[in-house]
C-alpha cells in the first residue's frame, strides 16, 4: 500500500488512542483532586498533568494561572491546542478522511459521527458535571471504533498499520500516566502506604481499567510495586507496556514479511527488556528514569517504523 496511506492509518489510530488516554488522564486527575490532601497542595498536580499531556508554555501564554478548570478546558475542547481531545478527534477524523479508500464505511461513519458531535461542543455545554460523562463518552467512542475496526476491516496491511498506531500510542500514554503518579503525586515519606497513597494507586488502576484486574491477579491490597508490575510487565493486562510491545512486535513481523528492518529490531529490543525485566530491577533504576527511557525508545521506534515502511515521503 501507499506509504502515505499507511501513515494516515497509523496516525488515525494514534490520535484516537491519544484522545482516549487524555480523557483517562483527566479522569484520574479529577479523582485525585477530590482528596483534601491534594487540594491543600494547590495546583502543582495540574501543572504536572499539563506538562505531560499538553504544552505548558502555550497554556501559560493563553490561560495564565494553572487551575483545575483551566487545564481541563485546555485539554478537552481547546481548538488551538493540538493535544486537546477536540483537536485529536479532529486529527483522527482528517486522517481517516484521507483514507476513505482503505477503511470500511462503518469505521468512517463512526469516527465522523464522533467528530460531528465533538465539533460544536462548548465548555458551557460540558459543564462541571458533564465532564465525567464526556470522558466516559470519549472512551466509549474509542472502544466502539476499535470494535468496528476489529469486526469489519480486512486483515490486510491497512489494518496492521492501524493496529500498530494503537499500540505505539498506548505504550507512550500508559507510561505517562504512570509517571504522573510516581513523580508528580509523589507523597511525602510519611504518607507512603497510607490511605491517600492507597487511594491514588487505586485511582491510577481505575484510570487504565486495571482495578479489578489487579485484584484478580494479586488477591491482595494495593501495593505500588505490584501496580507498576501489572502495568509494565504483565502481558495479560491489555494496557500494560509489555502487552503493547507484544502486539507491536508481532505486527511488525507480519508487515516485514521476512525482510529484516530496523523497526522490527528496535521493537524486539524494547520488548526483550519488558519480557525479561524484573520489577525489582526497575525500582532499583528508579521508576521515573525507567519510564523516561522507555518513552524515548518508544518514540525512536515510531520514527523507525515511519522510516522502514516509507510512511513519510
Amino acid at each position: 500500500m501507499l506509504g502515505r496511506s499507511a501513515n494516515h492509518l497509523y496516525w488515525m489510530s494514534r490520535y484516537i488512542e491519544r484522545a482516549e488516554n487524555t480523557a483517562r488522564i483527566l479522569e484520574i486527575s479529577q479523582r485525585m483532586a477530590l482528596l483534601p490532601h491534594v487540594a491543600k497542595k494547590g495546583a502543582s498536580e495540574w501543572q504536572a498533568v499539563l506538562e505531560i499531556a499538553g504544552d505548558a508554555a502555550d497554556f501559560e501564554a493563553r490561560y495564565g494561572e494553572v487551575t483545575a478548570a483551566k487545564v481541563t478546558a485546555y485539554l478537552t475542547l481547546d481548538r488551538e491546542n493540538p493535544s486537546s481531545i477536540w483537536s485529536t478527534i479532529r486529527a483522527a477524523r482528517e486522517n481517516a478522511h484521507a483514507e476513505r479508500v482503505s477503511i470500511t464505511s462503518e469505521m468512517w461513519e463512526s469516527l465522523n459521527a464522533t467528530w460531528l458531535e465533538v465539533k460544536d461542543l462548548t465548555p458551557d455545554m460540558l459543564g462541571k458535571h458533564g465532564q465525567r460523562d464526556f470522558f466516559d463518552w470519549i472512551k466509549e467512542r474509542s472502544h466502539l471504533f476499535r470494535g468496528i475496526t476489529f469486526g469489519t476491516m480486512l486483515r490486510d496491511e491497512a489494518y496492521h498499520f492501524g493496529r500498530l498506531g494503537t499500540f505505539v500510542e498506548r505504550a507512550d500514554n500508559v507510561a505517562r500516566i504512570l509517571d504522573v503518579k510516581y513523580h508528580v503525586l509523589l507523597p511525602s515519606v510519611e504518607d507512603v502506604g497510607g490511605a491517600i497513597d492507597n487511594f491514588q494507586w487505586g485511582a491510577l488502576l481505575r484510570s487504565v481499567s486495571g482495578f479489578r484486574a489487579y485484584h484478580r491477579v494479586y488477591h491482595d491490597t494495593i501495593e505500588p510495586s505490584r501496580v507498576t508490575e501489572l502495568l509494565i510487565l504483565n502481558d495479560s493486562m491489555p494496557r500494560s507496556l509489555h502487552a503493547c510491545l507484544d502486539n507491536t512486535v508481532s505486527l511488525l513481523a507480519m508487515l516485514s514479511e521476512g525482510r529484516p528492518n530496523e523497526a522490527a529490531r528496535l521493537a524486539g529490543e524494547v520488548h526483550a527488556s519488558l519480557h525479561y525485566g524484573k520489577i525489582s530491577d526497575i525500582f532499583k533504576t528508579g521508576l521515573h528514569e525507567f519510564l523516561t527511557i522507555f518513552i524515548r525508545r518508544n518514540n525512536a521506534l515510531s520514527a523507525e517504523i515511519q522510516n522502514s515502511f516509507h510512511l513519510a515521503a
Partner: protein, 541 residues
C-alpha cells in the same frame, strides 16, 4: 523534576500533518455553467457572420418564452397539475406522488441528508479566508427521461466527443483543420490551453479525452443544447452514483414501479477504459487516481471512484520519476505506475515544465509521459478544445472530421474579440450572458437581465479593456422539473451532465447528473451558488 517533565514533553511526538493543498481541478461545487433569465428577444445577428458561427437563431421555446418547458407537464404552465397535463414519462410518478403527503417528502429529504452527511459526501466551498465543508442539497424528486430522449442525447454526446478527440489528434499533429482555414491558427497556437509539449506526440489509441462531462440544457420537447464541454477533469459522476443509491433506499416502491436503467457499472467501464490505454498494451497495468488531496473540493469523488475501481488515490508526493518511469512510494518500496487517472489540472502536473511552484504534481512527469512510459487520462492539452472560445467551433469540427451534421445544438455565441459581435453585445448587455473565456463555476460572468445598470456598465468596461477574454450568449429558457421546496412541490430550472467514457469506442452509462436551481426563477444551478442535485432516471423502453 520540572526539567525531566519538560524533556518528556519535548519527546512527545507532535504527530503528522495534513498539508493543505490549493484547489486546482474544476470541482463539482464550481462546475462552469451559466443559466440566466428566460430568453427575451430573438438574437438580432449583426450582418457579418464568421465562418464558424452557428446560424443566428435563438433557442427559445415554441411558446416564445411565456413559460419554460417542464419535464413533467411540458408547456402546461402554472396552476395545479392535473393528470391530463402530465407527460407520458411522468404518469406513474405523478400518480404515486398524488398519494404521498408533503410531510412524507420532508421526512425523506431529511433522511437523505442524514445519509449523505454520514457518508461524508461533502464538497468544499471556498471563501475569502477559509473553506467550509458543505453538502450539496439533494432533491428527492427524480428527473425522468424516456428511452428515446436518451438515445438522442447518447448519439449527440458520442458524436461530439468523437469529433473532439479527432480535433485534438489533428491539432497536435498535422493541423489539417487549421490549414483548411476552418479555425484560425492563431486561436489555437496562442491559446493558453494548447500545449506545445503535445505537438507530434502519439497518445495511446489516439484518445485524448477519456472522460468528458457535457453540460446540456433543454428548452423544448426535442430541443437540447450543449452549453459546455468539460474535457479536462470533469467532476460530478459520484453524485450520479450516490444519488441513485440514496433514491433506491428512500423509495423502493417507486423504483419497482419504473424500469430505471442502472448506472452502477460506470466505475467498471471507466476502469476498463483506463486499463486499455496502458503503455504498450501492458496486460496488468497499475492504475492510480492522482488527486490534489483531501482539501480539494472534489476529493470525496476522487476517493469514491478509486474505491469503486479498487485503485489507490495518490497525491503528487506519493509519486516520483526514475529511469523515465513513474513510481509510487509504497510500504514495500517503489512500485511502477502505468496509467494515471489524474484529477489535477495540466498547469500543476509537473513543476519542472509548468507552474514551477506547484506542490501538487510530480517533477519529471512530463518527461515520463513524453517518453511513453505512462498514460495520463485525460491527456495533457485537452483544455484547448473546451475553452469557451473554442466551443463555437465544435459544430464545425463535427462536420470537418465526421462529415456529419451535429445532433445536439450549440447555443449561439458571440465572440467579443470580433468587432461586430462586440458592438452588438455592448448594445444588448441587458439581454445576454457574458462569460470569461477561461472562467468557471459561475464566477467572473455577467447575467445581463439580472444585473443592475451599474454592474452592466462596469462589465462593459472590462469587455472593452480585454475583449478576447469574453464571449456572450443569449439567455436560455431552461426546462423546469418538479422539485421539493419549502412550500411543497414546485417547478425549478435544471440542467444535465452526462459522462462520456472514451476507450476504443465511446460509452455512456444511462444517466448523468441533473443539477437544479433551488431558488424560484433562478437559472444558476451551480452548487457553489445554491444549486442542488437530483437523481436522473432513464426509463428502459
Amino acid at each position: 523534576m520540572a526539567s525531566a517533565l519538560a524533556n518528556l514533553r519535548a519527546n512527545r511526538q507532535a504527530g503528522n500533518s495534513l498539508a493543505a493543498a490549493s484547489p486546482v481541478s474544476s470541482p463539482v461545487g464550481a462546475m462552469p455553467v451559466v443559466k440566466a433569465a428566460p430568453a427575451k428577444a430573438a438574437k438580432a445577428k449583426p450582418a457579418k457572420a464568421s465562418a464558424a458561427k452557428p446560424a443566428a437563431k435563438v433557442p427559445a421555446s415554441p411558446r416564445k418564452s411565456a413559460v419554460a418547458f417542464d419535464e413533467m407537464t411540458a408547456f402546461a404552465g402554472a396552476g395545479p397539475v392535473t393528470p391530463e397535463k402530465v407527460r407520458e414519462v411522468y404518469k406513474t410518478f405523478a400518480a404515486w406522488q398524488a398519494t404521498v403527503p408533503a410531510k412524507e417528502f420532508e421526512r425523506k429529504r431529511k433522511e437523505a441528508e442524514l445519509l449523505f452527511r454520514r457518508l461524508g459526501i461533502t464538497f468544499l466551498v471556498y471563501g475569502k479566508e477559509s473553506s467550509t465543508e458543505r453538502l450539496i442539497p439533494f432533491d428527492v424528486i427524480p428527473r425522468i427521461f424516456t428511452a428515446e430522449e436518451w438515445q438522442h442525447i447518447h448519439a449527440g454526446c458520442t458524436q461530439r466527443v468523437r469529433a473532439i478527440n479527432a480535433f485534438l489528434g489533428d491539432i497536435y499533429h498535422g493541423q489539417d483543420i487549421l490549414r483548411a482555414g476552418r479555425i484560425p491558427a492563431e486561436d489555437i497556437l496562442t491559446n493558453s490551453q494548447y500545449r506545445p509539449e503535445m505537438q507530434g506526440l502519439d497518445v495511446q489509441n489516439g484518445t485524448y479525452v477519456h472522460i468528458a462531462g457535457l453540460d446540456l440544457v433543454r428548452t423544448g420537447e426535442r430541443d437540447f443544447y450543449v452549453l459546455e464541454d468539460n474535457l479536462r477533469t470533469p467532476s460530478g459522476v459520484s453524485y450520479m452514483l450516490e444519488n441513485r443509491n440514496v433514491m433506491m433506499r428512500l423509495f423502493p416502491d417507486l423504483f419497482s414501479a419504473h424500469k430505471v436503467a442502472p448506472v452502477d457499472h460506470y466505475p467498471a467501464h471507466l476502469m476498463q477504459a483506463l486499463r486499455a490505454v496502458a503503455p504498450d498494451g501492458k496486460p496488468n497495468p497499475t492504475v492510480v487516481l492522482l488527486s490534489p488531496g483531501a482539501y480539494n473540493s472534489a476529493y470525496f469523488e476522487h476517493v469514491f471512484l478509486a474505491d469503486q475501481m479498487g485503485i489507490d488515490v495518490v497525491e503528487g508526493q506519493d509519486l516520483f520519476v526514475k529511469n523515465g518511469c513513474v513510481f509510487m512510494r509504497t510500504t514495500k518500496g517503489p512500485q511502477q505506475v502505468d496509467v494515471i487517472y489524474r484529477r489535477v489540472d495540466d498547469d500543476y502536473l509537473d513543476p519542472l515544465a509548468f507552474h514551477r511552484d506547484s506542490m501538487l504534481g510530480v517533477p519529471g512527469l512530463l518527461a515520463a509521459y513524453r517518453a511513453g512510459n505512462v498514460t495520463l487520462a485525460n491527456a495533457i492539452g485537452t483544455g484547448v478544445a473546451d475553452d469557451k472560445s473554442m466551443y463555437v467551433h465544435v459544430p464545425e469540427m463535427i462536420r470537418f472530421y465526421l462529415g456529419e451534421e451535429p445532433i445536439l445544438q450549440n447555443v449561439p455565441t458571440y465572440v467579443l474579440r470580433e468587432d461586430d459581435d462586440r458592438a452588438y453585445v455592448l448594445d444588448n448587455l441587458d439581454k445576454l450572458v457574458v462569460k470569461e473565456v477561461h472562467g468557471s463555476g459561475g464566477y467572473g460572468m455577467l447575467v445581463g437581465p439580472a444585473a443592475t445598470t451599474k454592474e452592466r456598465q462596469a462589465f462593459a468596461k472590462r469587455i472593452i479593456a480585454n475583449p478576447g477574454n469574453y464571449i456572450a450568449q443569449p439567455t436560455l429558457s431552461l426546462s423546469t422539473c418538479p422539485t421539493f421546496v419549502a412550500k411543497g412541490i414546485a417547478p425549478r430550472h435544471v440542467d444535465f451532465r452526462p459522462f462520456v467514457i472514451s476507450g476504443k469506442t465511446q460509452t455512456l452509462v444511462p444517466g448523468g447528473l441533473t443539477r437544479v436551481a433551488l431558488i424560484k426563477g433562478s437559472l444558476v444551478v451551480n452548487s457553489s451558488q445554491g444549486g442542488g442535485t437530483k437523481d436522473t432516471w432513464i426509463l428502459e423502453a
